[in-house]
Amino acid sequence: MRPFVLGAVAYDPKVVTIWDGFKEFFDARGLAFDYVLFHNYERQVRAHFAGVVDVAWNSPLAWIQADRVARGRGRRARAVAMRDTDCDLTSVVVVSADDGAQGALDLAGRRIGVGAGDSPQATLLPLWSLGRAGLDLAATTVVRHDVLLGKHGDHVGGERLAAQALLRGEVDAACILDGNLLTFAAEGTLPADRVRVIHTTPAYDHCNFTVLDGVDEAVVDHFTALLLGMSWDDPGVRRLMDLEGLRAWRPGRTSGYLALEAAVDRFGTLDAFLASM
């Protein structure tokens, strides 16, 4: 019998350690498990529809890609689980502490540093949110830091470059995930006294495990039950949960992707991909 096959994007070498660990975890609990790594989310979504994988560990953007392709084909995509740390994130727009800008509108005509072009947290959501707050994006200069395109910003490098560009005065504002603001402050990339937050996006959700209709529901239930049963207090799985960055798994929800839906509609981010499917 074919094992339950997961697809994941290799945004960092630790991804191998993570899924090797999960394979051991699932196998030991009676769920035959295997995984396939992809270079980019677009390849993963295509492979999902081609039946190569049963479940995809999708970025929020890949979730929308899968969801829209499914709808276009009369099929159905479903988010079955996510990390507690995938829920209710915000991104912030920061400027130099001595900059006069107080809010989104003050960035008119100025340079905005963002992460990779396909990063929800460091590019799509903050730009969309600034636009929604009334900023004329067409009258600004958006400076992208395209680190590892195709990985949808999973790699923090683009955000870090935007932060460094801000300190060097190459951009007037930088778009950063809320948690990375703390990380950059702690590591010295962006000292807390050097920058000021002038805009915060609405809360949004991040990755989820996506399945398509036609998957063996009993196996999906087994997979989900094992995930939700993982306890960070169990030293046997804590290492895996630490690597994957969570304290608890939660059932999937899709209400946290509305802002990103609006952003990709506004910027036409997925048009070419969807047309190619």
Binding site: D178, G179, L182, V197, P235, A248
Partner: protein, 394 residues
């Protein structure tokens, strides 16, 4: 009816500049189901509080000017299920591999990796003397540059200087063996036995200093060291390659360094110049500790395991057999000892030197027998085993 939330006022302190410490402490103090209202002057407080709450697994509820957080899902954090690696002042019989590098008595997080330390049993490595010997060693470290009167003038006949250089050449390679043996076991003893690891480390450092000063003395008046012999190296090879901790310390520290202690005191006494005297005296001070450690832990080990003495005896016999076809102490070294003890290139002096070296070997034998007796060997066995000890001294 729900309890009113606890309250934390951060004042002007940012959560990105140390305020997270206050927040975490306040969250951990919450009763089950309790909530914490956080206020402060930093306009970025809600942004940071949200990110921290998410990372800590704490519920987060934004309000206009304040935020409210719930208790983290895993309040005990990494302390949950952690085990104490014994007590600071007490060693256990068999520390688990998963205690790893932890300070003795630390709470070791569950799921910590297992290390492979071949010497993990108290009875095989421990002596209560180790802590005291380590502190003594730490206090007795001398500086090779300043502790020796390198600049003192002296005049030796060429033959005597050559003999000193030959002896230093021999001493250096013996010191290298004496460094490699503790260095190797230092990396193999379970760090739970902290004092043993410390003592082995400082012992290796002692030998490094011995190598330094003997090398300097060798090169003081000559451009290169003298002869290193195949027999000498074969004898030392059996020490360097001995994989068993007890056998290696027995052969190296008790018998080898024990004999060396006598040799270095002899050289201090008969040295023809003040530099040679000083380097040998300084090295001898350290060697006395090395011997004391070897005797102390083997004495304890032999008391707890009566079969140990049989293995020790067998090791001496095995080494003797292995070295039977080598030259033992080479002619060059023996003759150099005679010349150094003579101190002059005259018939009278050479006869005195010869007699002194014969007496030295008897003295070494007496010392070895005394130490063997301390390990519980009968007088006859001690005499026999001492006689089988390598003619290379070390």
């Amino acid at each position: 009816m729900s309890r009113p939330p606890a309250r934390l006022d951060l004042g002007a302190l940012s959560l990105a500049r140390g305020g997270h410490l206050l927040l975490r402490k306040a969250l951990l103090a919450l009763p089950a189901g309790g909530t914490l209202e956080v206020v402060g002057a930093d306009p970025e407080l809600p942004v940071h509080a949200r990110a921290l709450a998410r990372a800590w697994g704490a519920p987060f509820h934004p309000h206009d000017a304040t935020v409210v957080l719930g208790a983290p899902v895993t309040p005990e954090g990494r302390w949950r299920g952690a085990v104490r690696s014994g007590a600071p002042g007490q060693v256990v019989a068999e520390p688990p591999a998963t205690w790893g590098l932890a300070a003795r008595g630390a709470a070791v997080e569950a799921g910590s990796p297992a290390f492979r330390f071949p010497w993990s049993r108290r009875d095989e490595v421990w002596t209560d003397e180790a802590g005291r010997l380590y502190l003594q060693a730490a206090a007795a470290q001398w500086d090779p540059v300043t502790a020796v009167p390198w600049a003192t003038g002296f005049d030796l006949p060429d033959e005597v200087e050559d003999a000193v250089v030959q002896l230093m050449t021999y001493l250096v390679e013996n010191e290298v063996a004496a460094l490699l043996v503790p260095a190797r076991f230092c990396a193999q003893v379970h760090p739970h036995f902290r004092e043993i690891v410390q003592l082995l480390a400082i012992q290796a450092a002692d030998e490094a200093r011995h190598i330094e000063v003997f090398t300097r003395r060798a090169l003081l008046r000559r451009p290169a060291p003298a002869l290193s012999t195949a027999g000498g190296q074969a004898s030392l090879q059996t020490l360097v390659e001995e994989p068993d901790f007890a056998l290696a310390s027995f052969l190296t520290s008790v018998l080898g360094e024990g004999s060396f202690l006598t040799l270095l005191r002899f050289l201090d006494h008969h040295a023809p110049d003040p530099v040679t005297a000083a380097v040998c005296r300084l090295a001898a001070q350290d060697e006395a500790r090395h011997v004391a450690f070897g005797v102390a832990h083997l004495e304890r080990h032999a008391r707890l395991d009566p079969t140990l003495r049989l293995r020790l005896a067998a090791a001496v016999e095995r080494r003797h057999d292995a070295l039977r076809h080598t030259a033992g102490l080479n002619e060059e070294v023996f003759d150099a000892l005679v010349v150094v003890a003579a101190g002059a290139w005259t018939p009278d002096a050479l006869r005195r030197g010869w007699d002194a070296v014969v007496a030295l070997q008897e003295e070494m034998d007496v010392g070895r027998r005394v130490r063997l007796r301390r390990l519980g060997f009968e007088e006859a066995d001690a005499a026999r085993l001492s006689g089988l000890h390598t003619r290379n001294f070390m």
